[in-house]
């Protein structure tokens, strides 16, 4: 059963042994004594040591008692313990995967390398587990080698936005077990740490200046950009910045920011350029020092007008309000058609369409009853209470219809989706109602069009945040090609059926997503979590100091005979005192009267 010492500093008590030996080796001061029998003494033991400061060690009972007392005292002070079990000690590290940790990546490795292994060095095998702190974070390492753990951390880049580590800590605690050690490694000190986790904070306040946001206006012929830069530190900072586009860069220009100041920069995209990058002078946190911008452009949506003349004005205004949604011409196949339905002359609806019921004759009566909307994303949060519609024959319902809006027993808006069909049916006479003046009506149509546009497999240009989920419409057919995300530095391939897990790159930059020959997305990924760029709360702290003792106590048992050792120590001390005092009495008693 391996033995370990909870208080190795107790071994300093062993210095008592050389001290005692030195004391016993040093000759005591000679006593001057007249003698009349020197001639007898001189004949005895002429080899005995004379006149030395150091004498041979005298074998005496007090010496041995004192040496034994030192050994017993050392034994007690070192607090010997025995391993209680042969199971490996578990240490689970939950490392903060938020982007701010990237500023302390090297320090994180140093701290873990220097502080974690000593926690269990006195015990046997230690099983290390390292997981990321965000929800559904990856397991970075699991094994018994610290060096391998460090190697894994060297290759790891924290890039997540601010998040709560609670879920990861819960997972960590379940991995560590009740007796295992759970350590949260971060760059700041949380108010509380659940699940009895210990803290290893490796951060420190740094003077960070970075981009905090951007805006692109492409309403004019030449798109313009506006970005904001913030000084997060509490001291004035000056940085140089450049604008790069294609292979050209502007001359560096300085920007000075007071403590905590945010300032905007504006400009236009260079002629015939739809992408630029703004680069700030590098500092310790580099993720927000670059901003990549493209002029956004939604997927093109071809529209068709197949409605009655009564709805022309309405449709025209709707088409005008949509971006990149021209009317189809010639043999172009529209993505969405506006149609009307006359209950007196019913016609089939286009497959993907927005259908307005339009009875030629003006209905006389108004629909009665309260208006109730369904719990559906398309109508979520929309207020229809001001809608006034007239009584007309209804669109014949189908089994697959989903009523989004009701007035009394009459479904006013239906969503019909089946197979290739996707139809939004307004089951009331729209031209003869006040729907055009209701925001809910316009919003509902825009939501529907947005869904249609989203589901179209086409190229989209947009700016995203780092690791942003990319909900792309892809070809999911049996022979569909894989999705390829390329950033210029790396390429990621993904099966079409896993398109929902596609995310923008974790590092800032331009990227493109393709499926075969079909480009799906050209975009940028930019750091956008300003909470992570603020290092005013970053600090160094550690609660690991008390852990070794706690871990040792959990995995070991103390010496069951310590009371006996204490008694033995007292006995040895008393014995040494007794024999020493006896010897001293003999040595110091006046001659001649000693035996009188």
């Amino acid at each position: 059963m391996p033995i370990l010492f909870a208080n190795p500093a107790g071994f300093w008590a062993l210095l008592g042994i050389p001290v005692i030996l030195l004391i016993h080796l040093l000759q005591r001061e000679s006593k001057r004594l007249p003698i009349s029998t020197l001639f007898l003494l001189e004949n005895i033991d002429r080899e005995s040591i004379q006149g030395r400061k150091i004498e041979r060690l005298r074998n005496s009972i007090p010496l041995w008692l004192q040496l034994l007392a030192v050994l017993v005292l050392t034994w007690l002070l070192t607090e010997p313990r025995w391993s209680a079990s042969r199971t490996a000690t578990r240490v689970v590290l939950v490392v903060d995967s938020s982007a701010s940790m990237s500023a302390f990546h090297d320090r994180l490795i140093e701290e873990i390398e220097s502080k974690v292994p000593p926690l269990t060095e006195t015990l046997g095998t230690t099983e290390y587990t390292c997981i990321e702190s965000h929800e559904s974070g990856n397991q970075l390492y699991r094994g018994t080698s610290v060096s391998e753990l460090i190697e894994q951390l060297r290759d790891w880049t924290p890039a997540r936005s601010a998040h709560s580590p609670e879920t990861a800590l819960r997972t960590g605690r379940s991995l560590a077990g009740s007796e295992g050690t759970l350590i949260f490694v971060s760059d700041h000190v949380p108010e509380t740490l659940p699940f009895a986790a210990s803290l290893l904070s490796v951060g420190e306040p740094i003077e960070n200046v970075g981009f905090t946001g951007f805006q692109i206006d492409n309403s004019e012929e030449v798109a313009s950009w506006e970005v904001s830069i913030k000084n997060y530190s509490d001291t004035p900072q000056t940085r140089r910045w450049v604008l790069a586009s294609g292979g050209t860069r502007t001359e560096p220009r300085e920007i000075s920011l007071n403590a905590g100041e945010t300032r905007s920069l504006k400009g236009k995209f260079p002629q015939s350029r739809d992408r630029i990058s703004l680069v700030l002078e590098d500092d310790e946190f580099s993720r927000d020092d670059q901003l990549f911008l493209v002029v956004p452009e939604p997927k093109p949506l071809l529209l068709a007008q197949a409605a009655s003349p009564d709805t022309d004005a309405l449709v025209r205004s709707l088409v005008d309000s949509l971006e990149n949604a021209p009317l189809a011409t010639g043999d172009q196949t529209p993505d969405l058609a506006f149609a009307s339905y006359n209950p007196l002359d019913p016609q089939p609806f286009p497959a993907v369409s927005i259908v307005f019921l339009n009875q030629k004759a003006v209905p006389q009566q108004f629909l009665k009853g309260s208006i109730v909307s369904a719990n559906h994303p398309l109508v979520s949060g929309l207020d229809w209470q001001g809608l006034i519609a007239r009584v007309t024959p209804a669109i014949p319902p189908k089994e697959e219809d989903v009523a989004l809006l009701w007035q009394g027993d009459r479904p006013l808006v239906l969503l019909r989706e089946k197979g290739g069909q996707r139809q939004l049916l307004f089951n009331f006479d729209v031209p003869h109602s006040n729907a055009e003046r209701l925001p809910a009506f316009i919003v509902l149509i825009h939501r529907f069009i947005h869904r249609v546009r989203n589901d179209k497999v086409a190229l989209e240009v947009r700016n995203t945040e780092l690791s942003e989920p990319l909900s792309l419409a892809v070809d999911r057919g049996a022979e569909a090609s894989d999705l390829i995300l390329s950033t210029g530095e790396e390429t990621q391939t993904l099966a079409p059926k896993r398109a929902s897990s596609l995310r923008s790159p974790r590092a800032p930059g331009f990227f493109e997503v393709r499926q075969g020959d079909q480009p799906l997305l050209r975009g940028t990924a930019n750091f956008a979590d300003t909470r992570e760029a603020d290092f005013s709360e970053a600090t160094s702290n550690s609660t690991l100091d008390k852990l070794p003792k706690k871990i040792t106590e959990q995995h070991t048992v103390s010496d069951p005979w310590w009371q006996i050792w204490v008694i033995a120590l007292l006995a040895l001390a008393l014995g040494a005192w007794f024999f020493l005092s006896k010897t001293n009495r003999r040595e110091t008693s006046p001659q001649g009267t000693q035996h009188a």
């Binding site: 004594l33 003698i35 009349s36 020197l38 040595e587 008693s589 001659q591 001649g592």
Partner: protein
């Protein structure tokens, strides 16, 4: 004068010694002595009342001693011989080496013995003389100098000697058939037989009285000592542990065993007189049993 002697109350010691002489005496009755007329039986024929022998008359004999009754019976002149009564001679040889006075107790005991011997000799009517000896040097003491304590000055005038020097008794003239009492601590390395033979010459009867202290016989040393020889002042640093102490005690014991054995061989009383006990008790330990002194 030896520093220790300056601190001692010599008159008081002498007074106590005279008192002790009323309790103890010298063993003068156990031998026939030679000397002037006195109270003790002499070795020759004298005019005492103690009949000794008969012998035939020879010319020159005192006709007053002819036994006329015997002549009437035998017709031969015979003489009746009576024991001679003499005054014995007591010679006190006082070893005054510094070791005798190194310890106050030992010095006091030595002086007590010296004064006692002198007083006892005088009280017994013996012709008592004393001399002080230090190594090769000696000086006879006048009777007046003893009880006037001027002898101390005489001792002080004796030149210093080598450490542990043997008292040279050879040069001291001794009277024949005297009682020779050597008062010494015998702390010198020479053979006891040689000293005893010198004491025994001319028919002398040696008695040896040896004062000692427990600092010599059982010193209880343990530790580091800077020993200073009481006679030469020579320093001797020594670590004394129990084995060394035991060897010292064994050597000390054997030293005096040799003296005791040598004295026994020549039928001389030998007694060691401890310093730590009272004078009477000290004498009763060895001196009385050994015949060096006797009770009155």
């Amino acid at each position: 004068m030896h520093p220790t002697l300056e601190t001692l109350d010599l008159p008081g010691i002498a007074t106590r010694a005279r008192a002790h002489a009323g309790l103890f005496t010298l063993p003068l009755k156990e031998q026939n002595w030679k000397g002037s007329t006195g109270d003790f039986a002499g070795s020759g024929v004298g005019a005492s009342l103690d009949f000794q022998d008969h012998r035939l008359y020879a010319p020159g004999d005192d006709p007053r001693h002819i036994n006329w009754q015997a002549y009437a019976r035998t017709g031969e002149y015979t003489l009746k011989l009576y024991r001679e009564e003499v005054r014995p001679i007591v010679e006190i040889l006082f070893d005054t080496s510094d070791s005798m006075f190194s310890d106050p107790e030992k010095a006091e005991r030595a002086l007590e013995l010296f004064y006692f011997l002198y007083a006892a000799g005088e009280q017994a009517g013996a012709a008592t003389s004393a001399c002080v000896i230090r190594g090769d040097h000696w000086k006879p003491l006048e009777i007046a100098s003893v009880f006037s304590h001027h002898w101390v000055d005489i001792v002080s005038d004796l030149p210093p000697t080598e450490p542990s020097a043997r008292p040279n008794l050879t040069a001291i003239p001794s009277k024949s058939r005297s009682l020779r009492i050597l008062l010494s601590d015998l702390l010198f390395p020479d053979s006891p037989e040689q000293t005893l033979q010198i004491l025994k010459r001319n028919g002398g009867r040696p008695i040896i009285l040896c004062p000692f202290t427990q600092t010599e016989s059982d010193p209880g040393w343990l530790g580091n000592y800077d020993f200073i020889d009481s006679e030469s002042g020579r320093r001797h640093e020594r670590r004394v542990d129990t084995p060394l102490l035991n060897r010292y005690l064994e050597t000390y014991r054997r030293h005096f065993e040799r003296w005791k054995s040598a004295a026994l061989r020549i039928h001389s009383p030998f007694a060691r007189v401890p310093s730590a006990t009272k004078f009477e008790a000290a004498l009763k330990l060895e001196a009385i049993p050994a015949g060096a002194l006797s009770l009155l």
